[in-house]
């Protein structure tokens, strides 16, 4: 038998940039521009004095950048009758945020752990009910909750808003941790039970140390969610504890005479700073949190 050597052209590495690729890049570029342009305008405007803003060159870089507007927004902008800047709101938000995040994660992980591993009678019904409630809009609950809190005498206070955030965060946190614990090998839980560990010991000594990735995700979700909240803070926090978002609204909407665009922009950027830092600092974790089945952040 004779072997016929057939000379085929050597296969080539496919061209990297096909027309479809170009289209894709163009789309991504335009989308990025669409989101970045307002941010750019905000940053340059916040660094300009009012005289320069009045000239109307929206996109121009500031002739002499100054942080005066930022200082004013932080320390002396008027939020209604008081003129102590947005820093009051910042610290209010912080005081709401820290306990709310901590408590909601603690309770959420504990319920998620109980629902996933202990197989209590009715656990699935309870979990189903929780998920249904998670998809009912906040607005439905607001009036009844206002009545409940006024009836119990808590009224509007820091404690009230922390309780509110904990309750509203519970379905998401429970779902997050339930799914995570359900994905662990159940034999680990059995081994701990044979070793004699009880409900809280298994939770604290075995399960939570393994849940570090989920805790990070939960902190990100809750931090951004609670920081960006406006309506719950406005209604339940009370006059002395209004969060930063509400204070920002007061600054922007209560100006008399000429509107201080640079101060408004600076105040807005200051308010957005914490979520921005969280997003940039934890992009990978944040995506993981969304992928982990948390639908409502």
């Amino acid at each position: 038998m004779t072997a016929v050597a057939q000379l085929l052209p050597a296969s080539r590495r496919p061209k990297r940039m096909t027309p479809a690729r170009w289209g894709l890049y163009a789309f991504i570029f335009i989308t990025a521009l669409y989101f970045l342009l307002p941010l750019y305008v905000m940053i340059v405007t916040s660094l300009k004095p009012m005289a320069e803003i009045r000239q109307g060159n929206l996109l121009a870089l500031p002739a002499a950048p100054s942080i005066d507007a930022w200082v004013k927004a932080w320390t002396s902008a008027c939020t209604g009758l008081t003129c102590q800047g947005i820093k009051i709101g910042f610290f209010n938000s912080l005081r709401i945020l820290v306990p709310s995040v901590g408590i909601s994660i603690l309770i959420g992980s504990l319920t998620g752990y109980a629902l996933s591993l202990w197989r209590l009678p009715g656990a699935n019904i309870l979990f189903g009910a929780m998920m249904v409630v998670a998809f009912i809009p906040y607005q439905v609950f607001i009036y009844p909750l206002v009545r409940v809190f006024s009836f119990t005498g808590l009224g509007q206070s820091l404690l009230t808003i922390v309780i509110i955030h904990t309750i509203f965060g519970l379905p998401t946190m429970t779902l997050l941790f339930r799914n995570y614990f359900a994905s662990l090998p159940v034999e680990l839980f059995k081994a701990a039970r044979v070793d004699g560990a009880g409900f809280y010991q298994i939770y604290a000594l075995i399960m939570m140390p393994m849940a570090t990735p989920m805790i990070v995700v939960a902190v990100i979700l809750q931090t951004t969610g609670i920081w960006n909240d406006f309506i719950l803070g406005l209604i339940f926090a009370g006059r002395d504890n209004l969060p930063m978002t509400v204070q920002l609204n007061n600054i922007v909407n209560s100006t008399q005479g000429e509107r201080a665009y640079n101060v408004d922009m600076a105040a807005t950027l200051l308010t957005a700073l914490l979520p921005l830092v969280v997003y940039f600092g934890s992009g990978r974790w944040f995506v993981r949190g969304i992928a982990a089945g948390a639908v409502k952040g």
């Binding site: 034999e187 059995k190 081994a191 701990a192 044979v194 070793d195 560990a197």
Partner: protein
Amino acid sequence: MQKSSVDIRSLQIGFGGLKVLENLDLHVGESEFLVLLGPSGCGKSTLLNAIAGLIDVKGGEIHIGGRDVTWAEPKDRGIAMVFQSYALYPRMSVRRNMSFGLKVAGTPQSEIERRVGEAAQMLRLTSLLERRPSELSGGQRQRVAIGRALVRHAGVYLFDEPLSNLDAQLRAELRVEIKRLHARLGATMIYVTHDQIEALTLADRIAVMQGGVIQQLDTPKKIYREPVNRFVASFVGSPAMNFIPGRLARGGEMVFVAGVNRLGLNGYVFRSQPTDAPVVLGIRPEHIEMTGADDQSSVPARVEMVEPMGADTLIWCRLADGTAFSFRRDADAQVRAGDALAVRFPADALSLFDEASGQRL
């Protein structure tokens, strides 16, 4: 170290409407090594989990060391357990994995150290004590899991397919190690597996299970030589037992008839009165003998295929009427495909089963 017996009385377990175990009785003596053997889904792991107290029972009683523990917590049953997936606590070092249970129970630190040191030495883990489970190989992880069970000084040790996640060589090594451990400690052990080699090598007694029912509970030798039904006969033994359908006839002595072939059954011990119903003859490949053609009791056969297996050779043959069977010879047997030879089926090595019920006759 205390050694407990285990007594299970008419145990019932079900999930929803599904019955997994029904009226199961089982007694495991002190220091006994009992293997629960069966295919997946036969209820053997469920039974083990019930003994451990990890699933609730629907009815019946479980006694360990003479104490009714049917509703006791796993930690109060005097048991220790080893799992298929090792189930080591990933965030703890080997030392903390092994001492966790004792710490939870409030054992004094000096006693914990003594027991962990003892178990680590027994399982050659001393140099690995500060490592994390992720830094160990599969075999080492399972040794740690065994060590974690040993430090509990339990009355009964439960093994749930502990070797199934390991490769063949490690499995053989660890199997020997477990057997040595049992000989040294004399502890009561209940061991679940679907691997019949593990069952035959380790067990004092084997309980072969299918469909939630113990089919046969006996010594490995009895299970292998005298299976009570066709399921046990075909599940235990590799290469598998040969089955030849036929019927019984009485002509002076009892005779097994399959087509033109007749086989005298002188020497076979019947369990029940033989009938005319169709039967199945079972014989293990190593019990078939090669003879000269002049032997009165031999039948002619033709070799179809030869399978060398290292230590011995499996020879696939057909009888004149097409009945296929295999038998075993040592590795240097000079047999080739196409050869004609004569074989003999010794009556005392046979098993006869009723075709309809599958029960041994």
